[in-house]
Amino acid sequence: MNRRIVWIGVASIVAVVAAGTVSMNAEGSSPTPPDRPAWSHQDGSVDPNATTEVLGQDGQPLKGPDGKPIKVKIADLMAPPPGPGGHAAPQAPLWPGQQPSHVISRKVTKNPDGSSSEVVQLGP
């Protein structure tokens, strides 16, 4: 009797773990994401040349006037403003010669019918 209980238990655990694994894989369309992007290192430093896409409300990358996905330089995104102040000032280059990438301004507003609309403005 005891041996039977043990076998039932082992078989059940295997079945449950297998079902759970299938469930986890089915929930996302991709493998489990890493803890951080490849450009973000454990010591807090980042790859200065790395870029990232910007997603729209549908989860698809936003595209610029040329039809290509907009890429934002990570270094621009993360750099603090030049100095203290009460407003977000233009960001300083992190190294000599660095050119700023797109400046993206976006605003989501709720419509009376309950839907929302998003305005995205691209600057130099």
Binding site: M1, I5, I13, P37, G56, P61, A88
Partner: protein, 178 residues
């Protein structure tokens, strides 16, 4: 026989608990909120502590919270060498900044979904908190860039001759979450 039945019932109880754990989904979806915190800047004079969180929020589509705290280093007698980050280091308005950038896993990379931009303190304080409900409520999916794994990249800095602080990843959370 009665003892065997008790064991069997106990076994099935354990299995039920394990089953609930696995079948509810990915581990990051199980947590109501996911966060990391720690000192992102330390010197012999000042320190900055940063907190970065992602959770499902009131509307289930996502919520980010970022907190910064500026501290001065205290030195401990008798040798005044055991430095530790201690009391709050109050900074004037505009000398503290926080920011939350929301990323979504697109299947091959983490991509920017939302961004609060830099937010400044408005009074003389040692720290402050920003938070944002990202829910949009369209198409029955309140997550701002579609269902998926999200995380907050949170930053806090204090200005003291330069910006002192850093960024922290919150850890990932599946959205929307109910």
């Amino acid at each position: 026989m009665g003892e065997d039945m008790k064991r069997l019932r106990r076994l099935w109880l354990y299995l039920a608990i394990i089953g609930v754990f696995f079948t509810l989904g990915t581990p990051d979806a199980l947590a109501h909120y996911v966060y990391q915190s720690g000192w992102t800047y330390r010197t012999s004079f000042d320190c900055e502590w940063t907190y970065s969180e992602i959770s499902h929020g009131v509307y289930h589509g996502g919520y980010s919270k970022v907190e910064g705290f500026s501290a001065q280093v205290n030195q401990v007698p008798p040798f005044w060498t055991n430095n530790y980050c201690g009391g709050g280091f109050n900074r004037p308005a505009g000398y503290l900044i926080d920011r939350a950038v929301l990323y979504r896993w697109n299947g091959s990379a983490w991509a920017v979904c939302r961004d609060t931009g830099w937010v400044y303190n408005s009074s003389n304080v040692a720290g402050f908190t920003i938070w944002d409900e990202w829910s949009v409520g369209d198409w029955g999916d309140p997550s701002p860039c579609g269902a998926g794994s999200y995380q907050t990249h949170g930053a806090s800095f204090e200005y003291n001759g330069g910006w002192h602080g850093g960024w922290l990843w919150s850890g990932s959370h599946w959205l929307p979450a109910y």
